[in-house]
């Protein structure tokens, strides 16, 4: 697995990917043709994947985002070094923190 700031990218075995994902709607790429894994609301800084692949919103244990990189790819961010990913399927997990009585996502 790979961590870039507050995003963790965890490999998922091909045969574990839920069957409906193949036909699920894909996330649209941004203006630069990237798949955006997480976007900063104010700075616009983004954890994003460059290269061919698909991103699917997926509730449940394989979510919240499933990333497919048939040829591998790179994850980039304005404030973090890029990470090269081998080809395959990945879960994309946002970091959270504990708040008594609830949780909230990390955002700084």
């Amino acid at each position: 697995m790979y961590r870039q700031g507050d995003v963790l990218i965890v490999p998922v075995a091909n045969d574990a990917v839920p069957p409906h994902v193949a036909a699920a709607p894909k996330e649209r790429r941004d203006a630069r043709g990237r798949l955006v894994l997480a976007l900063g609301e104010v700075t616009g800084h983004a954890h994003a994947v460059v290269g061919p692949g698909d991103l699917v919103r997926e509730p449940g244990p394989f979510g919240p985002l499933l990333l497919h990189l048939p040829q591998g790819g790179r994850v980039v961010h304005e404030e973090h070094a890029a990470i090269t990913l081998p080809k395959g399927w990945y879960r994309v997990i946002r970091q959270r923190e504990y708040v008594p009585g609830s949780v909230r996502i990390v955002a700084d």
Partner: protein
Amino acid sequence: MTITTTEGTGGDPAGAVAGAGTEAAGTSFEDVRAWRARAAAAVPADRAAAEAGVRRAYRQAGLPEPERVVWAASPREAVTLVRTTADKGASVREAVRSAPWAQERRRLHTRLGPAGWAAHWAATGGPLWEPTQALVDRIRAGVLEELAGGGTGSEAAEIRLVLLDAVLGQHDAPWLAAFPTDRGPLEGLAAVGRSAGWWWPYARVAVVCERPVALHRDEAGRLDRGDGPALAYPDGFALYAWRGMPVPAAFLAELPGLTPDRIRSEENAELRRVMLEHYGYDRYLADSGARHVHRDETGTLWRIDLPSDEPVVMVEVLNSTPEPDGTRRTYWLRVPPSTRTAREGVAWTFGLTAQGYAPERET
């Protein structure tokens, strides 16, 4: 880190937008980005453009233009104006806003099908919807609080009804982002959304509201400011918040002078948490002589025991990518009080067990 929306000029905060890569549904990624900027615009309204848009929206709904367009400096003032304007006529919100919106949604839904529509919404207005709606709800609650002292009683009910008559202008950005707006039934509505805040269409009078003068949010889009109002309108109507949590204005004024004793004596757990975050966990730990509980290669686990409250347990981690000057930023994440090791704490922040958390590369 909070970043302030500041724009030097009025008019459309999205600036000149190129229609690059227009999608089948008539909205491009550029359009969505422009609407995102408009939703967060804290610059004076472009009154001429807004009034032209209002009149156009009436005409597109098949209605005569309003006799008067009246400006308000905030939603609070707008609600008061609406309630004190005797000859304004009936609300025409249904005809001006809801009908054309429903018509466009039906048209697109029919063309794209249920799955296609869902994907289109997810790619356009969907991501904008929640943060914008949260802001709208906070503004409504703030207006209710100031004009009726809260949410109960007949006056509050009347104000709530007025708030429901509003068309949201810049805060209609999420759904406007999902439709073509340069032509067709949404032209007038979109023109107001590009140039002003909330507005109230009545048969003879339209009340239109200024945009905020200040908007401070965190990266998750939550209202967030430690030294002043997180949202402020030109007449002084304002909301105060810390990482999304509403706080009283007087409470913020107290933050710069906090002491560990004062933090310990705060009885409201929510406010005490804000105090700790503002004061700095590290400072508080040093001042109160706390000791770390556990340390491993993922970070350090700290614990602060509080009187009659659950302990504050935090992992202290170093940013993996150094800052430009070579130093590494430390940040603190609160984890459940049952956490025993730093690794368990960091793993929890990603929803994993200590055994399951093993990143081979971190940046």
